[in-house]
């Protein structure tokens, strides 16, 4: 198998890796906000449920969580799981990353000085206006470095989808490598992940720069 055939065969896996990456971000970022609000809720029941959820998500391996999301419905409720593989992967990733993002958002929101809320309140801003106009923009700036770390980890974590035999770039690399007895697929996969993270770092740096006009 030539280098270019390998690259071509692996390109479908690269697309799938990108799909996991973007869909996870798409769902886990908003979900993370809900998690952070739940975690900070005045309602003790909601707050404790969210606390337990976060501790499970962070306290068990993501690979195990993926297996539970995929096989759970069948073993627990005898629901057939054909055609459900990709959904299970996105569910697993989104709920796992939402827990991490939720904690980052919470730390960011709680780090805001009380005076910002008070100044806004005295000026007559509503709670919603205060959050979206005054608090959120500053929180985003504060949490961006921590979010960048998580996103970079996510790029690499997408390879865990291999545990559900999903044909993302890492799974394909492993298959080609053993069938062709070649080291090259791993090298290609490695370069692919590196480039993807380079792009992530570049994009996040641009975002940080765009918010560096104030302190």
């Amino acid at each position: 198998m030539s280098f270019f055939t390998m690259l071509e065969t692996m390109s479908s896996g690269m697309l799938k890796t990108c799909a996991i990456f973007f869909l996870t971000l798409l769902f886990s970022l908003p979900l993370g906000f809900l998690v952070s609000f739940g975690r900070m809720s005045k309602n003790p029941i909601l707050r404790n449920i969210v606390k337990v959820y976060i501790s499970i998500m962070r306290g068990t391996p993501l690979m195990l969580q993926l297996l539970v999301w995929y096989f759970g419905p069948f073993y627990l409720f005898q629901i057939p799981i054909r055609g459900y593989r990709f959904t299970a992967i996105i569910l697993g990733f989104a709920f796992n990353y939402a827990a991490y993002f939720g904690e980052i958002f919470r730390a960011g929101i709680e780090s805001m000085p009380q005076g910002q809320y008070e100044a806004a309140k005295v000026l007559g801003y509503t709670k919603v206006q205060t959050f979206f106009r005054i608090i959120l923009p500053q929180v985003v700036k504060r949490i961006l470095p921590a979010v960048t770390n998580e996103v970079i980890t996510l790029v690499k974590d997408t390879s865990l989808a291999f545990s559900l035999a999903y044909q993302e770039v890492f799974s394909i690399a492993k298959q080609i490598s053993s069938s062709q007895t070649s080291f090259m697929p791993f090298l290609i996969a490695g370069v692919f992940y590196y480039i993807m993270n380079y792009a992530v770092a570049f994009a996040m740096e641009r975002m940080e720069k765009s918010m560096s006009y104030y302190r």
Partner: protein
């Protein structure tokens, strides 16, 4: 009619009784200074007046509109959300540490609330904001961000931010306590100018000479009560109460 009317206000934090039956009314154009040792409840009183804290008992009204009162059982009820929105437009508060919005430019700090909260025309608000900045000698700082300004400039911007809402009354909570002496002077000058224009103000301050010069009335607070109250001549120059004298002596011998 009193612009602000506070009657028999009480406020505790848990076991700690911080405001113990204070009444304070302010008429239009009046400048009232509140002095007193730290921990005497001055900030808490302003925070109750501006609804940053809820009172435990008493009565608050602005311009004759009741904001908080006791119901038949003695429990405090605040007015409706809609009424409160209106009342919020009557006052402004200047904080000790400015609390400017760091992600907004000076101009946006000033213009945002009049536009977003009061729904006023952007062009009109901008004109007014620029005129106020001009008056404060800050016109060239309109596009700066708060971190680029000195403390004195930040505090003057925060005063402009409050003024841009066209409040009837302005509260100041130790507006110069976070500033160096020379920056203090420029902020006090601005407040003095507002006093000359008959802006209604309640000022918590440790600047005795300033208080004596600008105030129509001085209030000395200690331990959550008003110990002595009257003209600056009475309270600062010839205090009747031993506690007031003791406090002022401590100040003069600093």
């Amino acid at each position: 009619m009193n612009l602000l009317e506070m009657k028999n206000i009480r406020k505790s934090f848990g076991e700690l009784s911080v405001i113990r039956d204070i009444s304070l009314s302010v008429t239009r154009g009046e400048v009232v200074s509140i002095i007193g040792p730290s921990g005497s409840g001055k900030s808490t009183l302003l925070r109750c007046a501006t609804f940053l804290e809820t009172i435990d008992s008493g009565f608050i009204s602005y311009m004759g509109q009741v904001a908080a009162q006791e119901d038949a059982t003695g429990a405090i009820t605040y007015c409706t959300h809609e009424e409160m929105k209106k009342i919020h437009g009557y006052f402004g508060l200047v904080f000790q540490n400015f609390n400017l919005f760091p992600h907004y430019s000076v101009l946006k700090n000033i213009m945002d609330a009049p536009i977003v909260v009061q729904g006023r025309q952007k062009s009109e608000v901008r004109e007014e904001a620029m005129a106020l900045l001009e008056k404060m000698g800050l016109a060239d700082k309109a596009d700066f961000y708060p971190y680029q300004l000195s403390g004195g400039q930040q505090q003057r911007v925060s005063i402009v931010r409050a003024l841009a809402m066209n409040p009837e009354i302005l509260f100041f909570d130790e507006p110069t306590s976070a500033l160096d002496p020379e920056l203090t002077i420029e902020v006090l000058k601005v407040i003095r100018q507002l006093a000359e224009e008959h802006m209604t103000m309640v000022i918590v301050t440790h600047e005795m000479q300033f208080a004596a010069a600008v105030s129509d009335r001085v209030i000395f607070m200690d331990g959550g009560i008003i110990v002595e109250e009257g003209s600056p001549e009475q309270v600062i120059s010839n205090p009747e109460k031993a506690r007031t004298r003791q406090f002022l002596d401590m100040y003069n011998n600093r």
